[in-house]
Protein backbone atom coordinates (compact mmCIF):
# COMPACT_ATOMS: atom_id res chain seq x y z
CA UNK A 1 0.00 0.00 0.00
CA UNK A 2 1.27 3.46 -0.88
CA UNK A 3 1.87 5.84 1.97
CA UNK A 4 -0.69 8.43 0.95
CA UNK A 5 -3.46 5.87 0.66
CA UNK A 6 -2.55 4.38 4.06
CA UNK A 7 -2.55 7.83 5.54
CA UNK A 8 -5.84 9.03 4.12
CA UNK A 9 -7.51 5.81 5.16
CA UNK A 10 -6.48 5.94 8.82
CA UNK A 11 -6.10 9.66 9.45
CA UNK A 12 -9.57 10.06 11.09
CA UNK A 13 -8.82 7.24 13.55
CA UNK A 14 -5.53 8.86 14.55
CA UNK A 15 -7.21 12.20 15.03
CA UNK A 16 -9.91 10.64 17.19
CA UNK A 17 -7.23 8.90 19.25
CA UNK A 18 -5.31 12.15 19.68
CA UNK A 19 -8.50 13.81 20.86
CA UNK A 20 -9.06 11.07 23.47
CA UNK A 21 -5.48 11.41 24.64
CA UNK A 22 -5.85 15.13 25.10
CA UNK A 23 -8.93 14.66 27.26
CA UNK A 24 -7.21 12.02 29.38
CA UNK A 25 -4.09 14.15 29.82
CA UNK A 26 -6.06 17.16 30.92
CA UNK A 27 -8.06 15.00 33.30
CA UNK A 28 -11.37 15.95 31.72
CA UNK A 29 -12.48 12.36 31.42
CA UNK A 30 -11.70 9.36 33.57
CA UNK A 31 -10.07 6.33 32.04
CA UNK A 32 -13.12 4.28 33.06
CA UNK A 33 -15.37 6.11 30.58
CA UNK A 34 -13.24 5.12 27.65
CA UNK A 35 -13.82 1.44 27.25
CA UNK A 36 -12.36 1.38 23.74
CA UNK A 37 -9.17 3.24 24.60
CA UNK A 38 -6.97 0.12 24.90
CA UNK A 39 -8.40 -1.16 21.64
CA UNK A 40 -7.64 2.10 19.86
CA UNK A 41 -4.17 2.20 21.36
CA UNK A 42 -3.34 -1.27 20.12
CA UNK A 43 -4.64 -0.42 16.66
CA UNK A 44 -2.38 2.62 16.62
CA UNK A 45 0.55 0.41 17.61
CA UNK A 46 -0.27 -1.88 14.72
CA UNK A 47 -0.35 1.06 12.31
CA UNK A 48 2.97 2.26 13.65
CA UNK A 49 4.55 -1.14 13.17
CA UNK A 50 3.18 -1.31 9.63
CA UNK A 51 4.42 2.18 8.80
CA UNK A 52 7.90 1.33 10.06
CA UNK A 53 7.99 -1.99 8.27
CA UNK A 54 6.94 -0.47 4.97
CA UNK A 55 9.54 2.28 5.21
CA UNK A 56 7.13 5.21 5.19
CA UNK A 57 8.52 8.69 5.63
CA UNK A 58 9.73 10.01 8.99
CA UNK A 59 7.05 12.69 8.90
CA UNK A 60 4.45 9.96 9.16
CA UNK A 61 6.31 7.60 11.50
CA UNK A 62 7.37 10.23 14.04
CA UNK A 63 3.89 11.59 14.83
CA UNK A 64 2.62 8.04 15.13
CA UNK A 65 5.46 7.26 17.53
CA UNK A 66 4.59 10.29 19.61
CA UNK A 67 0.94 9.29 19.71
CA UNK A 68 1.92 5.76 20.74
CA UNK A 69 4.17 7.12 23.50
CA UNK A 70 1.40 9.31 24.87
CA UNK A 71 -1.01 6.39 24.71
CA UNK A 72 1.52 4.18 26.48
CA UNK A 73 1.75 6.78 29.25
CA UNK A 74 -2.00 6.75 29.75
CA UNK A 75 -2.49 2.99 29.52
CA UNK A 76 0.37 1.73 31.65
CA UNK A 77 0.29 3.54 34.96
CA UNK A 78 1.88 2.56 38.22
CA UNK A 79 -0.97 2.44 40.67
CA UNK A 80 0.08 4.74 43.44
CA UNK A 81 0.12 2.71 46.63
CA UNK A 82 0.58 5.71 48.85
CA UNK A 83 -3.00 6.92 48.84
CA UNK A 84 -4.75 3.58 48.52
CA UNK A 85 -3.08 1.64 51.27
CA UNK A 86 -2.44 4.17 54.00
CA UNK A 87 -4.36 2.15 56.55
CA UNK A 88 -2.56 -1.11 55.92
CA UNK A 89 0.71 0.79 55.82
CA UNK A 90 0.13 2.29 59.24
CA UNK A 91 -1.31 -0.85 60.80
CA UNK A 92 1.08 -3.43 59.42
CA UNK A 93 3.54 -2.59 56.67
CA UNK A 94 5.53 0.12 58.40
CA UNK A 95 6.28 -1.73 61.66
CA UNK A 96 6.99 -4.84 59.61
CA UNK A 97 9.44 -2.94 57.47
CA UNK A 98 11.18 -1.55 60.55
CA UNK A 99 11.56 -5.08 61.96
CA UNK A 100 12.71 -6.42 58.60
CA UNK A 101 15.47 -3.78 58.49
CA UNK A 102 16.37 -4.27 62.16
CA UNK A 103 20.11 -4.25 61.48
CA UNK A 104 20.08 -0.76 60.06
CA UNK A 105 17.63 0.41 62.71
CA UNK A 106 19.89 -0.99 65.41
CA UNK A 107 23.01 0.67 64.00
CA UNK A 108 21.27 4.01 63.49
CA UNK A 109 19.74 3.81 66.97
CA UNK A 110 23.09 3.04 68.56
CA UNK A 111 24.81 5.89 66.72
CA UNK A 112 22.13 8.42 67.59
CA UNK A 113 21.12 7.47 71.12
CA UNK A 114 24.66 6.35 71.94
CA UNK A 115 26.24 9.68 71.07
CA UNK A 116 23.34 11.46 72.79
CA UNK A 117 23.73 9.61 76.09
CA UNK A 118 27.52 9.66 76.13
CA UNK A 119 27.72 13.39 75.44
CA UNK A 120 24.93 14.17 77.90
CA UNK A 121 26.84 12.31 80.65
CA UNK A 122 30.14 13.94 79.70
CA UNK A 123 28.65 17.43 79.74
CA UNK A 124 26.93 16.70 83.06
CA UNK A 125 30.25 15.64 84.57
CA UNK A 126 32.44 18.26 82.87
CA UNK A 127 30.12 21.28 82.40
CA UNK A 128 32.52 23.45 80.39
CA UNK A 129 32.52 20.84 77.60
CA UNK A 130 29.19 22.19 76.36
CA UNK A 131 30.89 25.26 74.89
CA UNK A 132 33.06 23.17 72.59
CA UNK A 133 29.93 21.61 71.03
CA UNK A 134 27.28 24.32 71.08
CA UNK A 135 27.92 28.02 70.55
CA UNK A 136 27.53 30.28 73.62
CA UNK A 137 24.57 32.20 72.11
CA UNK A 138 22.69 28.99 71.54
CA UNK A 139 23.38 27.87 75.09
CA UNK A 140 22.07 31.18 76.39
CA UNK A 141 18.98 30.88 74.20
CA UNK A 142 18.28 27.38 75.48
CA UNK A 143 18.75 28.51 79.07
CA UNK A 144 16.23 31.30 78.52
CA UNK A 145 13.76 28.84 77.04
CA UNK A 146 13.80 26.35 79.89
CA UNK A 147 14.15 28.79 82.74
CA UNK A 148 11.90 27.40 85.52
CA UNK A 149 10.66 30.97 86.13
CA UNK A 150 8.89 31.00 82.77
CA UNK A 151 5.19 30.20 82.86
CA UNK A 152 4.98 28.34 79.54
CA UNK A 153 7.62 26.32 77.83
CA UNK A 154 9.06 26.20 74.39
CA UNK A 155 10.65 28.96 72.45
CA UNK A 156 8.99 31.86 74.22
CA UNK A 157 8.04 32.61 77.77
CA UNK A 158 4.29 33.12 77.61
CA UNK A 159 2.41 31.73 74.67
CA UNK A 160 -1.14 32.04 73.44
CA UNK A 161 -3.04 29.57 71.27
CA UNK A 162 -1.86 31.30 68.14
CA UNK A 163 1.69 30.66 69.25
CA UNK A 164 0.98 26.96 69.52
CA UNK A 165 0.04 27.20 65.88
CA UNK A 166 3.24 28.98 65.06
CA UNK A 167 5.36 26.42 66.85
CA UNK A 168 3.51 23.58 65.12
CA UNK A 169 4.46 25.00 61.72
CA UNK A 170 8.00 25.60 62.87
CA UNK A 171 8.43 22.08 64.27
CA UNK A 172 7.04 20.45 61.13
CA UNK A 173 9.38 22.36 58.88
CA UNK A 174 12.44 22.06 61.06
CA UNK A 175 12.16 18.42 62.12
CA UNK A 176 11.02 16.90 58.85
CA UNK A 177 13.73 18.89 57.11
CA UNK A 178 16.33 17.32 59.44
CA UNK A 179 14.88 13.85 58.83
CA UNK A 180 14.99 14.34 55.04
CA UNK A 181 18.59 15.51 55.25
CA UNK A 182 19.61 12.58 57.39
CA UNK A 183 18.01 10.22 54.90
CA UNK A 184 19.26 11.79 51.68
CA UNK A 185 22.85 12.10 52.87
CA UNK A 186 22.89 8.30 53.12
CA UNK A 187 23.45 8.21 49.38
CA UNK A 188 27.08 9.10 50.09
CA UNK A 189 27.82 5.46 50.96
CA UNK A 190 25.96 5.90 54.23
CA UNK A 191 28.55 8.33 55.57
CA UNK A 192 26.20 11.31 55.43
CA UNK A 193 23.60 9.56 57.54
CA UNK A 194 26.21 8.50 60.07
CA UNK A 195 27.39 12.10 60.26
CA UNK A 196 23.92 13.58 60.77
CA UNK A 197 22.95 10.92 63.33
CA UNK A 198 26.03 11.58 65.44
CA UNK A 199 25.84 15.34 64.93
CA UNK A 200 22.22 15.56 66.05
CA UNK A 201 22.98 13.21 68.94
CA UNK A 202 25.86 15.46 70.02
CA UNK A 203 23.82 18.66 69.99
CA UNK A 204 20.80 17.22 71.78
CA UNK A 205 23.01 15.38 74.26
CA UNK A 206 25.10 18.44 75.04
CA UNK A 207 22.09 20.65 75.64
CA UNK A 208 20.24 18.16 77.80
CA UNK A 209 23.36 17.48 79.87
CA UNK A 210 23.99 21.17 80.31
CA UNK A 211 20.42 22.06 81.30
CA UNK A 212 20.27 19.22 83.80
CA UNK A 213 23.57 20.27 85.28
CA UNK A 214 22.51 23.89 85.88
CA UNK A 215 19.30 22.75 87.56
CA UNK A 216 16.76 23.27 84.77
CA UNK A 217 16.27 19.52 84.53
CA UNK A 218 12.68 19.52 85.71
CA UNK A 219 11.40 21.94 83.07
CA UNK A 220 13.53 20.46 80.31
CA UNK A 221 12.82 16.79 80.79
CA UNK A 222 9.11 17.22 81.40
CA UNK A 223 8.99 19.22 78.18
CA UNK A 224 10.84 16.83 75.92
CA UNK A 225 9.78 13.43 77.20
CA UNK A 226 6.37 13.43 75.51
CA UNK A 227 7.19 14.23 71.91
CA UNK A 228 10.71 12.82 72.18
CA UNK A 229 9.23 9.34 71.88
CA UNK A 230 8.13 10.12 68.34
CA UNK A 231 10.74 12.65 67.32
CA UNK A 232 13.90 10.86 68.37
CA UNK A 233 12.64 7.51 67.08
CA UNK A 234 11.81 9.15 63.77
CA UNK A 235 15.28 10.68 63.40
CA UNK A 236 16.87 7.30 64.13
CA UNK A 237 14.61 5.61 61.58
CA UNK A 238 15.39 8.25 58.95
CA UNK A 239 19.05 7.52 59.56
CA UNK A 240 18.35 3.81 59.20
CA UNK A 241 16.69 4.46 55.83
CA UNK A 242 19.74 6.44 54.75
CA UNK A 243 22.12 3.71 55.90
CA UNK A 244 20.10 1.26 53.84
CA UNK A 245 20.74 3.36 50.74
CA UNK A 246 24.43 3.56 51.49
CA UNK A 247 24.71 -0.16 52.15
CA UNK A 248 23.06 -0.92 48.80
CA UNK A 249 25.99 0.91 47.20
CA UNK A 250 28.70 -0.61 49.39
CA UNK A 251 27.52 -4.22 49.13
CA UNK A 252 25.14 -4.64 46.18
CA UNK A 253 25.38 -8.43 46.28
CA UNK A 254 24.66 -10.05 42.95
CA UNK A 255 23.00 -6.98 41.46
CA UNK A 256 24.66 -4.06 39.75
CA UNK A 257 25.10 -1.05 42.00
CA UNK A 258 22.48 0.96 40.10
CA UNK A 259 19.90 -1.82 40.33
CA UNK A 260 20.56 -2.48 43.99
CA UNK A 261 20.28 1.25 44.73
CA UNK A 262 16.94 1.42 42.96
CA UNK A 263 15.50 -1.45 44.99
CA UNK A 264 16.84 -0.10 48.27
CA UNK A 265 15.53 3.38 47.48
CA UNK A 266 12.00 2.06 47.08
CA UNK A 267 12.14 0.31 50.45
CA UNK A 268 13.73 3.19 52.28
CA UNK A 269 11.14 5.54 50.82
CA UNK A 270 8.42 3.56 52.57
CA UNK A 271 10.35 3.83 55.80
CA UNK A 272 10.62 7.58 55.28
CA UNK A 273 6.85 7.89 54.84
CA UNK A 274 6.48 6.33 58.27
CA UNK A 275 9.05 8.77 59.60
CA UNK A 276 7.05 11.70 58.27
CA UNK A 277 3.97 10.37 60.03
CA UNK A 278 5.82 10.05 63.34
CA UNK A 279 7.20 13.56 63.00
CA UNK A 280 3.77 15.04 62.33
CA UNK A 281 2.50 13.41 65.52
CA UNK A 282 5.57 14.67 67.35
CA UNK A 283 4.98 18.23 66.14
CA UNK A 284 1.40 18.09 67.39
CA UNK A 285 2.38 16.85 70.81
CA UNK A 286 5.26 19.28 71.03
CA UNK A 287 3.16 22.31 70.17
CA UNK A 288 0.01 21.50 72.14
CA UNK A 289 0.89 19.19 75.01
CA UNK A 290 4.57 19.47 75.88
CA UNK A 291 4.45 23.26 76.11
CA UNK A 292 1.60 23.54 78.59
CA UNK A 293 2.61 24.32 82.17
CA UNK A 294 -0.77 23.85 83.77
CA UNK A 295 -0.22 20.09 84.10
CA UNK A 296 1.98 18.85 86.88
CA UNK A 297 5.41 17.51 86.04
CA UNK A 298 4.67 13.99 87.24
CA UNK A 299 1.69 13.71 84.87
CA UNK A 300 3.95 14.72 82.01
CA UNK A 301 6.53 12.12 82.98
CA UNK A 302 3.81 9.50 83.19
CA UNK A 303 2.29 10.40 79.81
CA UNK A 304 5.77 10.57 78.31
CA UNK A 305 6.62 7.10 79.57
CA UNK A 306 3.35 5.76 78.21
CA UNK A 307 4.11 7.33 74.83
CA UNK A 308 7.59 5.75 74.74
CA UNK A 309 6.06 2.37 75.53
CA UNK A 310 3.40 2.97 72.90
CA UNK A 311 5.96 3.69 70.18
CA UNK A 312 8.05 0.69 71.18
CA UNK A 313 5.01 -1.58 71.24
CA UNK A 314 3.82 -0.22 67.92
CA UNK A 315 7.12 -0.89 66.20
CA UNK A 316 7.72 -4.31 67.74
CA UNK A 317 4.24 -5.84 67.98
CA UNK A 318 1.95 -4.41 65.29
CA UNK A 319 1.38 -6.42 62.15
CA UNK A 320 2.76 -9.67 63.52
CA UNK A 321 -0.13 -11.73 62.25
CA UNK A 322 -0.40 -12.32 58.53
CA UNK A 323 -4.04 -11.29 58.40
CA UNK A 324 -3.68 -7.91 59.93
CA UNK A 325 -6.55 -5.57 59.03
CA UNK A 326 -6.01 -4.33 55.51
Amino acid sequence: MKQSLFESRHQPQWQAFAEQLKQLEQGKRKAGDMADFPHQYRRLCQHLALAQERGYSSYLVDPLQQLALRGHQQLYRHRSRLTANILSFVLADFPRLVREQWRFVLIAGLLFFGSLVVVALLVYLFPELVYSIVSPQQVAEMQGMYDPEASRLGRLADRAASEDWMMFGYYVMHNIGIAFQTFAAGLLFGLGSVFFLIYNGLIIGAISGHLTEIGYGQTFWSFVIGHGAFELTAIALAGAAGLQLGWALIAPGRLTRAESLRLAARKSMQMLCGVMLLLLIAAFIEAYWSSSTTTAAWIKYLVGAVLWLLVAAYLTLTGRTRHAPE
Partner: protein
Protein backbone atom coordinates in the same frame (compact mmCIF):
# COMPACT_ATOMS: atom_id res chain seq x y z
CA UNK B 1 15.04 -4.47 14.32
CA UNK B 2 16.88 -1.16 14.14
CA UNK B 3 20.59 -0.79 14.70
CA UNK B 4 21.72 1.15 17.75
CA UNK B 5 21.07 4.84 17.13
CA UNK B 6 24.00 7.20 16.77
CA UNK B 7 22.41 9.88 18.92
CA UNK B 8 21.32 9.80 22.56
CA UNK B 9 17.93 8.25 21.95
CA UNK B 10 16.76 5.73 24.51
CA UNK B 11 14.62 2.88 23.18
CA UNK B 12 11.88 1.26 25.21
CA UNK B 13 9.94 -1.73 24.01
CA UNK B 14 6.25 -1.74 24.82
CA UNK B 15 4.20 -4.88 25.54
CA UNK B 16 2.70 -4.41 22.07
CA UNK B 17 6.09 -5.22 20.61
CA UNK B 18 6.95 -1.81 19.22
CA UNK B 19 10.00 0.28 20.02
CA UNK B 20 9.41 3.81 21.19
CA UNK B 21 12.33 6.22 21.17
CA UNK B 22 12.71 8.69 24.07
CA UNK B 23 15.05 11.65 23.91
CA UNK B 24 16.75 12.23 27.28
CA UNK B 25 17.45 15.87 28.08
CA UNK B 26 20.96 17.03 28.93
CA UNK B 27 22.38 19.21 31.66
CA UNK B 28 21.68 22.65 30.21
CA UNK B 29 17.91 22.50 29.60
CA UNK B 30 17.48 20.80 32.96
CA UNK B 31 19.51 23.46 34.74
CA UNK B 32 17.46 26.17 33.04
CA UNK B 33 14.22 24.42 34.03
CA UNK B 34 15.43 24.24 37.63
CA UNK B 35 16.40 27.89 37.60
CA UNK B 36 12.93 28.77 36.36
CA UNK B 37 11.32 26.67 39.09
CA UNK B 38 13.52 28.34 41.67
CA UNK B 39 12.37 31.73 40.44
CA UNK B 40 8.72 30.70 40.55
CA UNK B 41 9.10 29.42 44.08
CA UNK B 42 10.90 32.53 45.24
CA UNK B 43 8.23 34.73 43.73
CA UNK B 44 5.36 32.69 45.20
CA UNK B 45 6.92 32.76 48.66
CA UNK B 46 7.56 36.48 48.38
CA UNK B 47 3.96 37.21 47.44
CA UNK B 48 2.41 34.86 50.00
CA UNK B 49 4.64 35.78 52.92
CA UNK B 50 3.71 39.46 52.89
CA UNK B 51 0.04 38.98 53.91
CA UNK B 52 1.04 36.12 56.23
CA UNK B 53 3.50 38.36 58.03
CA UNK B 54 0.62 40.70 58.81
CA UNK B 55 -1.30 37.88 60.49
CA UNK B 56 1.12 37.67 63.40
CA UNK B 57 1.92 34.35 65.00
CA UNK B 58 -0.58 32.27 63.05
CA UNK B 59 0.92 33.78 59.94
CA UNK B 60 4.40 32.71 61.00
CA UNK B 61 3.14 29.17 61.63
CA UNK B 62 1.38 29.02 58.28
CA UNK B 63 4.44 30.58 56.70
CA UNK B 64 6.75 27.86 57.98
CA UNK B 65 4.32 25.17 56.84
CA UNK B 66 4.26 26.87 53.46
CA UNK B 67 8.04 27.08 53.34
CA UNK B 68 8.22 23.38 54.13
CA UNK B 69 5.69 22.55 51.41
CA UNK B 70 7.41 24.70 48.82
CA UNK B 71 10.94 23.58 49.54
CA UNK B 72 10.28 19.81 49.76
CA UNK B 73 6.99 19.15 47.98
CA UNK B 74 6.77 21.63 45.11
CA UNK B 75 8.52 19.36 42.61
CA UNK B 76 6.84 16.18 43.83
CA UNK B 77 3.31 17.57 43.63
CA UNK B 78 3.81 19.03 40.18
CA UNK B 79 5.53 15.98 38.76
CA UNK B 80 2.92 13.52 39.96
CA UNK B 81 -0.19 15.60 39.36
CA UNK B 82 0.84 17.39 36.16
CA UNK B 83 1.98 14.60 33.81
CA UNK B 84 5.59 14.73 34.98
CA UNK B 85 6.09 18.45 34.40
CA UNK B 86 7.01 21.09 36.95
CA UNK B 87 6.41 24.61 35.57
CA UNK B 88 10.09 24.92 34.66
CA UNK B 89 10.04 21.65 32.77
CA UNK B 90 6.86 22.71 31.04
CA UNK B 91 8.55 25.86 29.81
CA UNK B 92 11.63 23.99 28.62
CA UNK B 93 9.53 21.23 27.00
CA UNK B 94 10.72 18.49 29.36
CA UNK B 95 9.01 15.84 31.44
CA UNK B 96 9.96 13.11 33.91
CA UNK B 97 9.08 9.48 33.22
CA UNK B 98 10.06 6.14 34.72
CA UNK B 99 12.78 4.15 33.02
CA UNK B 100 10.16 2.07 31.22
CA UNK B 101 8.41 5.12 29.80
CA UNK B 102 5.44 5.00 32.18
CA UNK B 103 4.36 8.09 34.15
CA UNK B 104 6.17 8.86 37.38
CA UNK B 105 4.48 7.88 40.68
CA UNK B 106 4.59 9.24 44.22
CA UNK B 107 7.35 7.01 45.45
CA UNK B 108 9.74 7.58 42.56
CA UNK B 109 9.11 11.30 42.55
CA UNK B 110 9.73 11.56 46.29
CA UNK B 111 12.98 9.63 45.97
CA UNK B 112 14.36 11.72 43.15
CA UNK B 113 13.42 14.99 44.78
CA UNK B 114 14.60 14.16 48.31
CA UNK B 115 17.93 12.97 46.95
CA UNK B 116 18.27 16.33 45.23
CA UNK B 117 19.85 17.33 48.53
CA UNK B 118 22.82 15.06 47.75
CA UNK B 119 23.00 16.23 44.14
CA UNK B 120 23.48 19.76 45.46
CA UNK B 121 26.51 18.74 47.52
CA UNK B 122 29.21 19.94 48.05
CA UNK B 123 28.14 23.18 46.33
CA UNK B 124 25.97 24.28 43.40
CA UNK B 125 24.77 20.89 42.14
CA UNK B 126 28.33 19.57 41.72
CA UNK B 127 27.57 15.87 42.24
CA UNK B 128 24.41 16.10 40.19
CA UNK B 129 26.22 17.78 37.31
CA UNK B 130 29.07 15.27 37.31
CA UNK B 131 26.67 12.35 37.39
CA UNK B 132 24.54 13.93 34.67
CA UNK B 133 27.49 14.56 32.38
CA UNK B 134 29.01 11.11 32.61
CA UNK B 135 25.78 9.11 32.32
CA UNK B 136 24.67 7.99 28.82
CA UNK B 137 21.10 9.10 29.57
CA UNK B 138 22.04 12.19 31.62
CA UNK B 139 20.79 10.96 34.99
CA UNK B 140 21.65 12.72 38.20
CA UNK B 141 22.03 10.71 41.41
CA UNK B 142 18.37 11.11 42.35
CA UNK B 143 17.33 9.78 38.96
CA UNK B 144 19.64 6.78 39.36
CA UNK B 145 18.09 5.85 42.68
CA UNK B 146 14.49 6.45 41.62
CA UNK B 147 14.86 4.87 38.17
CA UNK B 148 13.55 7.95 36.37
CA UNK B 149 14.49 9.80 33.23
CA UNK B 150 14.03 13.41 32.10
CA UNK B 151 13.00 13.49 28.44
CA UNK B 152 11.89 16.00 25.85
CA UNK B 153 8.19 16.29 25.23
CA UNK B 154 8.10 16.09 21.47
CA UNK B 155 5.65 18.04 19.43
CA UNK B 156 4.80 16.81 15.92
CA UNK B 157 6.75 18.78 13.33
CA UNK B 158 4.92 20.59 10.54
CA UNK B 159 5.04 18.54 7.40
CA UNK B 160 6.92 20.06 4.45
CA UNK B 161 5.68 19.85 0.88
CA UNK B 162 7.51 17.51 -1.45
CA UNK B 163 8.76 19.28 -4.60
CA UNK B 164 6.71 18.71 -7.72
CA UNK B 165 8.03 15.96 -9.98
CA UNK B 166 6.58 13.24 -12.17
CA UNK B 167 6.12 10.01 -10.12
CA UNK B 168 8.69 7.46 -11.04
CA UNK B 169 9.18 3.77 -10.38
CA UNK B 170 12.63 2.22 -10.11
CA UNK B 171 13.52 -0.97 -11.98
CA UNK B 172 14.94 -2.51 -8.78
CA UNK B 173 13.57 -2.84 -5.23
CA UNK B 174 14.83 -0.50 -2.54
CA UNK B 175 15.73 -1.56 0.96
CA UNK B 176 13.77 0.02 3.82
CA UNK B 177 16.62 2.27 4.88
CA UNK B 178 17.16 3.45 1.31
CA UNK B 179 13.48 4.15 0.93
CA UNK B 180 13.46 6.18 4.17
CA UNK B 181 16.58 8.03 3.03
CA UNK B 182 15.10 9.03 -0.33
CA UNK B 183 11.86 10.18 1.31
CA UNK B 184 13.84 12.09 3.89
CA UNK B 185 15.88 13.76 1.15
CA UNK B 186 12.76 14.89 -0.70
CA UNK B 187 11.04 16.15 2.44
CA UNK B 188 13.98 18.10 3.84
CA UNK B 189 15.00 19.77 0.60
CA UNK B 190 13.41 23.04 1.61
CA UNK B 191 15.82 23.37 4.55
CA UNK B 192 18.96 22.90 2.42
CA UNK B 193 20.77 25.21 0.03
CA UNK B 194 20.59 24.43 -3.66
CA UNK B 195 24.31 23.53 -3.72
CA UNK B 196 23.94 21.06 -0.87
CA UNK B 197 20.91 19.44 -2.53
CA UNK B 198 22.91 19.06 -5.71
CA UNK B 199 25.91 17.65 -3.84
CA UNK B 200 23.83 15.07 -1.96
CA UNK B 201 21.86 14.01 -5.01
CA UNK B 202 24.93 13.62 -7.21
CA UNK B 203 26.16 10.83 -4.89
CA UNK B 204 23.31 8.76 -6.28
CA UNK B 205 23.70 9.86 -9.91
CA UNK B 206 25.63 6.72 -10.82
CA UNK B 207 23.20 4.07 -9.55
CA UNK B 208 20.26 6.06 -10.93
CA UNK B 209 22.02 6.30 -14.30
CA UNK B 210 21.31 9.97 -14.84
CA UNK B 211 23.65 12.96 -15.23
CA UNK B 212 24.54 14.57 -11.89
CA UNK B 213 22.58 17.71 -12.76
CA UNK B 214 19.30 15.80 -12.99
CA UNK B 215 19.83 13.53 -9.99
CA UNK B 216 17.83 15.69 -7.53
CA UNK B 217 14.83 15.81 -9.83
CA UNK B 218 15.06 12.07 -10.37
CA UNK B 219 15.12 11.42 -6.60
CA UNK B 220 12.10 13.66 -6.08
CA UNK B 221 10.30 11.64 -8.71
CA UNK B 222 11.17 8.39 -6.91
CA UNK B 223 9.92 9.88 -3.64
CA UNK B 224 6.65 10.89 -5.31
CA UNK B 225 6.34 7.38 -6.64
CA UNK B 226 6.88 5.90 -3.19
CA UNK B 227 4.42 8.25 -1.55
CA UNK B 228 1.65 7.56 -4.03
CA UNK B 229 -0.92 10.04 -5.36
CA UNK B 230 -1.76 12.87 -2.99
Amino acid sequence: MQSAPLDTRYQIETPEGIDLPLRPAGLLPRALAFAFDLGVRGLAMGILLVPLALLGNIGIGLGSLLLFLVSWWYMVLFEVLNQGCSPGKQVMGLRVVQDDGTPIGWSASLIRNLLRFVDMLPFGYFFGAVSCLQHPHFKRLGDLAAGTLVIYRQQPAARPKIPQAAPLGLPFTLELNEQRAILGFAERQGELSAERVHELASILAMPLQVPAARAAEQLNGVARGLLGPT
